[in-house]
Point group: C2
Amino acid sequence: MTSRSRDPEDLLGEAHAGDRAALARLLSIVERGGEPSQALARLVYVSAPPYTLGVTGAPGAGKSTLANRLIASARGGWPSGEPVAQVAVLAVDPSSPFTGGAILGDRVRMQDHATDPSVYIRSMATRGHLGGLALAVPDAVRVLGAVGIPLVIVETVGVGQMEVDVAAAADTTVVVVTPGWGDSMQANKAGLLEVADVFVVNKADRPGVREARRDLEQMLDLSAPSDWRPPVVDTVASTGDGVADLWAAVDRHRAHLLSSGRLAGRRRERLAQELRRVVTARVLERAQAVTSGAAYEAAVAAIDEGSLDPYEAAGRLLGD
Amino acid sequence: MTSRSRDPEDLLGEAHAGDRAALARLLSIVERGGEPSQALARLVYVSAPPYTLGVTGAPGAGKSTLANRLIASARGGWPSGEPVAQVAVLAVDPSSPFTGGAILGDRVRMQDHATDPSVYIRSMATRGHLGGLALAVPDAVRVLGAVGIPLVIVETVGVGQMEVDVAAAADTTVVVVTPGWGDSMQANKAGLLEVADVFVVNKADRPGVREARRDLEQMLDLSAPSDWRPPVVDTVASTGDGVADLWAAVDRHRAHLLSSGRLAGRRRERLAQELRRVVTARVLERAQAVTSGAAYEAAVAAIDEGSLDPYEAAGRLLGD
């Protein structure tokens, strides 16, 4: 099963035929970034994107366990009856070192789904290149789509701005809270409210679940009216309680996006945002490149001597 | 006294001759940014910079009162006997709206020094253009130097990163704390320690001054050895107690920079940082410019249709 090919086009073909090693190599190319990753992008953006489900929430809220349960739900097909041939999970952890391999949560899940060739699980980190995961994750999602996987769950470990952004760049975004969440996530409440399509109160066997739900409903009452009000679903991911309801809520949101014609608009907006990020990363790379080396040192010296000002110097360095 | 000239070269001549209205207009040009400001930079970076004294610390620490006292000290000349012909204060407030005029603290000080033609006090804000105050303040300092003012006190209202950066871009940086400061500034302690050349424990007539001093000395004990250990000076800015000691400490730091030859290196590093900021602001402006408008919309549509990928699109938009 180990792929020897180095050509991304060949790797895509092999991955499409079910070679998981080839798929892993493609995603490693994305993680490493740079020219090879951009060459790969050229090949995968021609395919339609997969349906993406973002899962975010505070660390310890049970997102991994929930994602694990959602894999099982997805393997049973959409509640509407439509089958889901394959499902992938991208576990995004900006704080974990770049390993090119699986982290603990993955290994647990991989055991659960090890015998299922239709499930693919992968951690994502980056080598800290500019733009980082915010650029790598959408590309990875496209790779998964291009090899024929129709549903991708993107799970982030925390609620930092980058993680919320990554999870929000999904067709349906699930925000996971737990009883007592209000205190711990005060700072980012508004941001989470804004991106949520579905709320989950996980660990709903614990005290405080009613208060957590009331808190969410009150926030929703106060937010701007829209044609989709995020439902609030109680789950106990560890036992599986409520997961069928969550899967049904995701399906309803998907049906809403499709019937209202909003899916296309949402994806267009996401691409616009993605392109903005690529442009920004590229100009910042350029800024970094011109602010080191001999020409830069010479420019600083010239300013110091009074023969050049910083604006003229910047223009010269950038070739403007 | 009102200057009618619009030409920056004429304004500089008038300001050098003592026309405060001309100087005010020059600083407004800097605040507004853009082409006129860059044209002005061309004229002022030929002059040697003035000696700059940065004053930063938490809001309410008494920085304005202290700066006011330092004006009076400076008017008596350096403790070494060297006279200070003129002194300017730039009060930098990123949170205040762009007014082109004075804020309350200035007006109080202006009353104190209203009859002294050798003192110039000015608030700085910006119209929120990219780079903002981090670019405008060094340019304003250069304008003040170019019109013959040998000493500029740059005072920032808070301890946000930008404010610390601005105050740290000085020849001598004074960090003002008060008894009990440790709790309120926990988050930024390390950052403040790093930039301080002189520490002031202001409001030293209040309880807790000994603890505040001990706290600072312990932090200094733990920091990397250097040929300058920031002295800790107690002041009561409201009565003037200890201000002579502070002024003497500033003078000692200045003498240290001059005798060790470090002043030149420090200024060179600052210019390098400044040039990096200008380059970054310029590339981000470019990113912003190319991510709106028809070409951008067309690129997004092409990615959406699968005929273009984001990296190729970014390259085309940036003309790479």
